[in-house]
Protein backbone atom coordinates (compact mmCIF):
# COMPACT_ATOMS: atom_id res chain seq x y z
CA UNK A 1 0.00 0.00 0.00
CA UNK A 2 1.52 3.26 -1.10
CA UNK A 3 1.63 6.30 1.12
CA UNK A 4 2.38 9.48 -0.76
CA UNK A 5 3.01 12.53 1.34
CA UNK A 6 3.54 16.08 0.16
CA UNK A 7 6.56 18.07 1.29
CA UNK A 8 4.39 19.95 3.76
CA UNK A 9 2.92 16.76 5.13
CA UNK A 10 6.40 15.45 5.86
CA UNK A 11 6.74 18.39 8.24
CA UNK A 12 3.22 18.56 9.59
CA UNK A 13 2.15 15.03 10.31
CA UNK A 14 3.69 12.00 11.93
CA UNK A 15 5.61 10.18 9.23
CA UNK A 16 5.54 6.41 9.81
CA UNK A 17 8.41 5.40 12.07
CA UNK A 18 9.58 2.36 14.04
CA UNK A 19 6.55 2.50 16.31
CA UNK A 20 4.21 2.56 13.32
CA UNK A 21 5.87 -0.47 11.74
CA UNK A 22 5.89 -2.41 14.99
CA UNK A 23 2.21 -1.67 15.34
CA UNK A 24 1.57 -2.64 11.73
CA UNK A 25 3.31 -5.99 12.19
CA UNK A 26 1.18 -6.69 15.24
CA UNK A 27 -2.06 -5.77 13.49
CA UNK A 28 -1.24 -7.89 10.44
CA UNK A 29 -0.91 -10.91 12.71
CA UNK A 30 -4.05 -10.02 14.63
CA UNK A 31 -6.39 -9.54 11.66
CA UNK A 32 -7.32 -13.20 11.71
CA UNK A 33 -8.94 -12.64 15.14
CA UNK A 34 -11.06 -9.68 14.07
CA UNK A 35 -14.77 -10.49 14.09
CA UNK A 36 -16.59 -10.42 10.77
CA UNK A 37 -18.15 -7.09 9.89
CA UNK A 38 -16.29 -5.23 12.62
CA UNK A 39 -16.45 -1.53 13.36
CA UNK A 40 -12.79 -0.52 13.35
CA UNK A 41 -11.75 2.86 14.72
CA UNK A 42 -8.28 4.35 14.81
CA UNK A 43 -7.68 7.40 16.99
CA UNK A 44 -4.92 9.60 15.61
CA UNK A 45 -4.60 8.01 12.18
CA UNK A 46 -1.83 10.39 11.05
CA UNK A 47 -0.63 9.31 7.61
CA UNK A 48 -3.23 6.54 7.60
CA UNK A 49 -0.65 3.75 7.65
CA UNK A 50 -2.47 1.62 10.22
CA UNK A 51 -6.14 2.13 9.35
CA UNK A 52 -5.24 2.02 5.65
CA UNK A 53 -3.42 -1.29 5.87
CA UNK A 54 -6.08 -2.80 8.14
CA UNK A 55 -8.83 -1.73 5.72
CA UNK A 56 -6.88 -3.16 2.79
CA UNK A 57 -6.26 -6.51 4.45
CA UNK A 58 -9.87 -6.83 5.55
CA UNK A 59 -11.04 -6.01 2.04
CA UNK A 60 -8.69 -8.57 0.52
CA UNK A 61 -9.59 -11.28 2.96
CA UNK A 62 -13.23 -11.03 2.05
CA UNK A 63 -13.95 -9.86 5.55
CA UNK A 64 -14.72 -6.34 4.72
CA UNK A 65 -15.23 -4.53 7.98
CA UNK A 66 -18.52 -2.75 8.33
CA UNK A 67 -16.79 0.52 8.94
CA UNK A 68 -13.17 1.57 9.18
CA UNK A 69 -12.82 5.04 10.60
CA UNK A 70 -9.73 7.15 11.13
CA UNK A 71 -9.98 10.14 13.43
CA UNK A 72 -7.35 12.84 13.69
CA UNK A 73 -7.16 16.21 15.37
CA UNK A 74 -4.96 17.44 12.53
CA UNK A 75 -6.70 18.38 9.27
CA UNK A 76 -3.45 17.85 7.37
CA UNK A 77 -3.40 14.24 8.59
CA UNK A 78 -6.99 13.66 7.51
CA UNK A 79 -6.11 14.92 4.03
CA UNK A 80 -3.06 12.65 3.84
CA UNK A 81 -4.97 9.64 5.16
CA UNK A 82 -7.90 10.08 2.82
CA UNK A 83 -5.52 10.26 -0.13
CA UNK A 84 -4.82 6.59 0.53
CA UNK A 85 -8.44 5.70 -0.21
CA UNK A 86 -8.27 7.37 -3.60
CA UNK A 87 -4.86 6.08 -4.62
CA UNK A 88 -5.24 2.52 -3.43
CA UNK A 89 -8.93 1.72 -3.87
CA UNK A 90 -9.20 1.06 -0.16
CA UNK A 91 -12.13 2.48 1.65
CA UNK A 92 -12.12 3.96 5.09
CA UNK A 93 -13.46 7.28 6.31
CA UNK A 94 -11.57 10.11 7.98
CA UNK A 95 -13.00 12.54 10.48
CA UNK A 96 -11.26 15.68 11.69
CA UNK A 97 -12.13 15.76 15.36
CA UNK A 98 -10.65 16.23 18.82
CA UNK A 99 -10.90 12.73 20.23
CA UNK A 100 -14.44 11.39 20.15
CA UNK A 101 -16.10 14.80 20.06
CA UNK A 102 -19.03 14.89 17.70
CA UNK A 103 -19.07 11.12 17.33
CA UNK A 104 -22.24 9.27 18.30
CA UNK A 105 -20.75 5.78 18.36
CA UNK A 106 -23.31 4.40 20.80
CA UNK A 107 -25.43 2.60 18.27
CA UNK A 108 -22.71 0.84 16.35
CA UNK A 109 -20.23 0.55 19.18
CA UNK A 110 -16.58 -0.19 18.44
CA UNK A 111 -15.22 -3.69 17.89
CA UNK A 112 -11.57 -2.88 17.20
CA UNK A 113 -9.90 0.23 18.61
CA UNK A 114 -6.40 1.16 17.45
CA UNK A 115 -4.43 3.86 19.22
CA UNK A 116 -0.84 4.98 18.81
CA UNK A 117 -1.07 7.94 21.17
CA UNK A 118 1.11 10.99 21.76
CA UNK A 119 3.15 8.93 24.21
CA UNK A 120 6.25 10.98 24.90
CA UNK A 121 6.43 12.48 28.41
CA UNK A 122 6.66 16.25 27.98
CA UNK A 123 6.65 19.32 30.20
CA UNK A 124 3.48 21.35 30.85
CA UNK A 125 4.95 24.14 28.76
CA UNK A 126 5.01 21.94 25.69
CA UNK A 127 1.47 20.73 26.35
CA UNK A 128 0.28 24.35 26.55
CA UNK A 129 2.06 25.21 23.34
CA UNK A 130 0.37 22.31 21.54
CA UNK A 131 -3.00 23.50 22.75
CA UNK A 132 -2.27 26.99 21.50
CA UNK A 133 -1.31 25.76 18.01
CA UNK A 134 -4.38 23.56 17.93
CA UNK A 135 -6.70 26.52 18.51
CA UNK A 136 -4.70 28.65 16.10
CA UNK A 137 -5.10 26.07 13.37
CA UNK A 138 -8.83 25.78 13.92
CA UNK A 139 -9.16 29.56 13.83
CA UNK A 140 -7.19 29.64 10.58
CA UNK A 141 -9.43 26.93 9.14
CA UNK A 142 -12.60 28.83 10.10
CA UNK A 143 -11.29 32.06 8.57
CA UNK A 144 -10.16 30.40 5.36
CA UNK A 145 -13.48 28.60 5.06
CA UNK A 146 -15.43 31.80 5.67
CA UNK A 147 -13.34 33.42 2.93
CA UNK A 148 -14.53 30.70 0.57
CA UNK A 149 -11.24 28.89 0.27
CA UNK A 150 -11.80 25.32 -0.81
CA UNK A 151 -9.98 22.35 -2.26
CA UNK A 152 -6.22 22.52 -2.50
CA UNK A 153 -6.17 26.22 -1.66
CA UNK A 154 -7.81 25.48 1.71
CA UNK A 155 -5.41 22.61 2.38
CA UNK A 156 -2.39 24.84 1.78
CA UNK A 157 -3.73 27.67 3.90
CA UNK A 158 -4.60 25.47 6.85
CA UNK A 159 -1.23 23.72 6.69
CA UNK A 160 0.47 26.98 7.69
CA UNK A 161 -0.05 26.00 11.33
CA UNK A 162 1.96 22.91 12.17
CA UNK A 163 0.55 20.46 14.71
CA UNK A 164 3.40 17.96 14.56
CA UNK A 165 4.14 18.45 18.27
CA UNK A 166 0.62 17.30 19.13
CA UNK A 167 1.43 13.94 17.59
CA UNK A 168 3.91 13.01 20.31
CA UNK A 169 3.45 15.36 23.27
CA UNK A 170 1.88 13.38 26.09
CA UNK A 171 2.41 15.57 29.13
CA UNK A 172 3.16 13.98 32.48
CA UNK A 173 3.99 10.26 32.07
CA UNK A 174 3.11 10.66 28.41
CA UNK A 175 -0.46 9.79 29.40
CA UNK A 176 -2.34 13.11 29.24
CA UNK A 177 -4.16 12.35 26.01
CA UNK A 178 -4.14 8.58 26.40
CA UNK A 179 -6.21 8.49 29.59
CA UNK A 180 -8.82 10.86 28.17
CA UNK A 181 -9.22 8.78 25.05
CA UNK A 182 -9.22 5.38 26.74
CA UNK A 183 -11.88 6.42 29.24
CA UNK A 184 -14.18 7.38 26.40
CA UNK A 185 -13.28 4.47 24.11
CA UNK A 186 -14.14 1.93 26.80
CA UNK A 187 -17.70 3.23 26.89
CA UNK A 188 -18.16 2.49 23.19
CA UNK A 189 -16.51 -0.94 23.07
CA UNK A 190 -18.74 -3.85 22.13
CA UNK A 191 -18.60 -7.13 24.06
CA UNK A 192 -15.51 -9.07 22.96
CA UNK A 193 -14.11 -5.82 21.60
CA UNK A 194 -10.33 -5.41 21.33
CA UNK A 195 -8.18 -2.37 22.09
CA UNK A 196 -4.68 -2.15 20.64
CA UNK A 197 -2.42 0.39 22.32
CA UNK A 198 1.16 1.51 21.80
CA UNK A 199 3.16 2.38 24.92
CA UNK A 200 6.77 2.88 25.96
CA UNK A 201 8.56 1.95 29.13
CA UNK A 202 8.14 5.46 30.55
CA UNK A 203 4.37 5.17 30.43
CA UNK A 204 2.77 3.72 33.60
CA UNK A 205 2.08 0.32 32.07
CA UNK A 206 1.00 -1.31 35.33
CA UNK A 207 -1.56 1.42 35.88
CA UNK A 208 -2.88 0.93 32.36
CA UNK A 209 -3.19 -2.82 32.85
CA UNK A 210 -5.00 -2.31 36.18
CA UNK A 211 -7.34 0.21 34.60
CA UNK A 212 -8.34 -2.31 31.97
CA UNK A 213 -8.55 -5.20 34.40
CA UNK A 214 -11.03 -3.25 36.53
CA UNK A 215 -13.20 -2.85 33.44
CA UNK A 216 -13.19 -6.55 32.67
CA UNK A 217 -10.39 -6.58 30.08
CA UNK A 218 -7.57 -9.08 29.81
CA UNK A 219 -4.22 -7.60 28.77
CA UNK A 220 -1.43 -9.02 26.61
CA UNK A 221 1.91 -7.84 25.28
CA UNK A 222 1.91 -8.54 21.56
CA UNK A 223 5.22 -6.97 20.63
CA UNK A 224 8.24 -5.46 22.24
CA UNK A 225 11.22 -3.77 20.69
CA UNK A 226 14.02 -1.44 21.67
CA UNK A 227 14.73 1.49 19.39
CA UNK A 228 17.51 3.80 20.58
CA UNK A 229 16.46 4.82 24.09
CA UNK A 230 12.85 3.73 23.79
CA UNK A 231 11.49 0.35 24.78
CA UNK A 232 8.28 0.02 22.80
CA UNK A 233 5.29 -2.27 23.41
CA UNK A 234 2.14 -3.11 21.55
CA UNK A 235 -0.52 -4.02 24.08
CA UNK A 236 -3.77 -5.83 23.44
CA UNK A 237 -6.80 -5.63 25.71
CA UNK A 238 -9.72 -7.94 25.14
CA UNK A 239 -13.11 -7.26 26.65
CA UNK A 240 -14.23 -10.34 28.52
CA UNK A 241 -17.27 -9.01 30.27
CA UNK A 242 -20.61 -9.79 28.73
CA UNK A 243 -22.15 -6.49 29.68
CA UNK A 244 -21.18 -3.30 27.91
CA UNK A 245 -19.60 -0.87 30.41
Amino acid sequence: MKINLTKTEYKNIYVPNDDSYLFLDALKEEIQYFPQNAVVVEMGCGSGILIGNVSKLLQEQNNRALMCIGIDINYDACIASSRITQENQIYFDCINSDGFEGLALDKSGIDIFIFNPPYVPTEDEEVERCKKYFYEKQKLFAQAYANNMRGQELVEEVSKVNLIDCSYSGGKDGMLITWKILEKAIKFMNPNGIIYLFVIQENPINEIVSFFKAKGYEGFILKKQQKYNEIQFILKFVCNSVNKQ
Binding site: I95, E101, G102, F141, A142, L154
Partner: protein, 123 residues
Amino acid sequence: MRLLVHNLLMCNKCDKNNYPLKIEVNKSVIMELEFKKDAILKLIPKLDFEVLSNTVRELGFKQFPKQIPPNVEQDLAFLKDLHRVLFETHIMDGQLTCPNPSCKRNYPITNGIPNMILTEDEQ
Protein backbone atom coordinates in the same frame (compact mmCIF):
# COMPACT_ATOMS: atom_id res chain seq x y z
CA MET B 1 -17.43 11.76 3.78
CA ARG B 2 -19.89 8.99 3.14
CA LEU B 3 -23.43 8.83 4.52
CA LEU B 4 -22.23 5.94 6.56
CA VAL B 5 -20.21 8.41 8.59
CA HIS B 6 -22.97 11.02 8.71
CA ASN B 7 -25.01 8.46 10.62
CA LEU B 8 -22.42 8.70 13.42
CA LEU B 9 -21.96 12.45 13.70
CA MET B 10 -23.63 14.76 16.19
CA CYS B 11 -23.29 18.34 17.35
CA ASN B 12 -20.49 18.88 19.82
CA LYS B 13 -21.96 21.93 21.46
CA CYS B 14 -25.37 20.64 22.42
CA ASP B 15 -26.35 17.91 24.84
CA LYS B 16 -29.83 17.47 23.46
CA ASN B 17 -31.44 17.69 20.06
CA ASN B 18 -27.97 17.36 18.55
CA TYR B 19 -28.56 14.46 16.18
CA PRO B 20 -28.79 13.94 13.31
CA LEU B 21 -27.01 16.79 11.63
CA LYS B 22 -28.68 18.25 8.56
CA ILE B 23 -26.61 17.82 5.42
CA GLU B 24 -26.15 20.26 2.62
CA VAL B 25 -24.18 18.87 -0.31
CA ASN B 26 -22.27 21.12 -2.69
CA LYS B 27 -20.27 18.42 -4.39
CA SER B 28 -20.36 14.65 -4.28
CA VAL B 29 -18.73 11.89 -6.27
CA ILE B 30 -19.49 8.22 -6.73
CA MET B 31 -16.58 5.85 -6.17
CA GLU B 32 -17.57 2.34 -7.02
CA LEU B 33 -17.02 -0.42 -4.53
CA GLU B 34 -17.78 -4.09 -4.95
CA PHE B 35 -21.25 -4.94 -3.72
CA LYS B 36 -21.29 -7.51 -0.90
CA LYS B 37 -24.77 -8.45 0.18
CA ASP B 38 -23.69 -9.94 3.47
CA ALA B 39 -21.82 -6.81 4.54
CA ILE B 40 -24.80 -4.58 3.81
CA LEU B 41 -27.21 -6.84 5.67
CA LYS B 42 -24.94 -6.88 8.72
CA LEU B 43 -24.61 -3.11 8.65
CA ILE B 44 -28.33 -2.34 8.73
CA PRO B 45 -28.90 -3.04 12.46
CA LYS B 46 -25.91 -0.84 13.33
CA LEU B 47 -27.43 2.20 11.64
CA ASP B 48 -30.14 4.60 12.51
CA PHE B 49 -32.15 3.75 9.41
CA GLU B 50 -34.73 6.48 9.86
CA VAL B 51 -31.96 9.08 9.92
CA LEU B 52 -30.33 7.61 6.85
CA SER B 53 -33.63 7.41 4.97
CA ASN B 54 -34.61 10.99 5.79
CA THR B 55 -31.19 12.25 4.77
CA VAL B 56 -31.15 10.35 1.50
CA ARG B 57 -34.62 11.58 0.58
CA GLU B 58 -33.78 15.15 1.51
CA LEU B 59 -30.77 14.94 -0.77
CA GLY B 60 -33.06 14.18 -3.70
CA PHE B 61 -33.49 10.44 -3.77
CA LYS B 62 -37.24 10.62 -3.14
CA GLN B 63 -38.01 6.96 -3.79
CA PHE B 64 -35.75 5.68 -1.06
CA PRO B 65 -37.92 3.74 1.41
CA LYS B 66 -38.77 5.19 4.82
CA GLN B 67 -38.45 1.82 6.45
CA ILE B 68 -36.46 -1.28 5.85
CA PRO B 69 -38.55 -3.31 3.40
CA PRO B 70 -39.93 -6.65 4.54
CA ASN B 71 -37.95 -9.62 3.29
CA VAL B 72 -34.92 -7.38 2.96
CA GLU B 73 -32.53 -10.28 2.45
CA GLN B 74 -34.17 -11.00 -0.89
CA ASP B 75 -34.63 -7.39 -1.92
CA LEU B 76 -31.55 -7.00 -4.09
CA ALA B 77 -32.70 -3.74 -5.64
CA PHE B 78 -33.03 -2.12 -2.24
CA LEU B 79 -29.72 -3.51 -1.04
CA LYS B 80 -27.93 -2.18 -4.08
CA ASP B 81 -29.48 1.25 -3.59
CA LEU B 82 -28.39 1.14 0.02
CA HIS B 83 -24.91 0.11 -1.03
CA ARG B 84 -24.74 3.05 -3.39
CA VAL B 85 -25.79 5.65 -0.86
CA LEU B 86 -23.80 4.28 2.07
CA PHE B 87 -20.60 3.04 0.51
CA GLU B 88 -20.23 4.68 -2.85
CA THR B 89 -21.44 8.26 -2.43
CA HIS B 90 -18.68 10.55 -1.19
CA ILE B 91 -19.62 14.04 -0.14
CA MET B 92 -16.59 16.12 -1.02
CA ASP B 93 -17.90 19.54 -0.15
CA GLY B 94 -20.86 20.58 1.99
CA GLN B 95 -22.06 21.40 5.47
CA LEU B 96 -23.46 19.63 8.49
CA THR B 97 -25.81 21.70 10.63
CA CYS B 98 -26.99 21.12 14.17
CA PRO B 99 -30.77 20.52 14.27
CA ASN B 100 -31.16 22.41 17.54
CA PRO B 101 -32.82 25.73 16.57
CA SER B 102 -30.93 27.62 19.26
CA CYS B 103 -27.62 26.28 18.01
CA LYS B 104 -27.53 25.59 14.25
CA ARG B 105 -23.76 25.28 14.36
CA ASN B 106 -22.27 24.52 10.93
CA TYR B 107 -19.62 21.84 10.57
CA PRO B 108 -17.89 22.10 7.20
CA ILE B 109 -17.13 19.16 4.92
CA THR B 110 -14.15 20.02 2.74
CA ASN B 111 -12.05 17.76 0.56
CA GLY B 112 -14.27 14.94 1.80
CA ILE B 113 -13.39 15.53 5.46
CA PRO B 114 -15.94 16.65 8.07
CA ASN B 115 -14.43 19.09 10.56
CA MET B 116 -16.02 18.62 13.98
CA ILE B 117 -13.59 20.78 15.92
CA LEU B 118 -14.88 23.72 17.95
CA THR B 119 -12.99 27.00 18.16
CA GLU B 120 -11.47 28.17 21.43
CA ASP B 121 -14.43 30.49 22.16
CA GLU B 122 -16.87 27.68 21.68
CA GLN B 123 -15.30 25.28 24.18
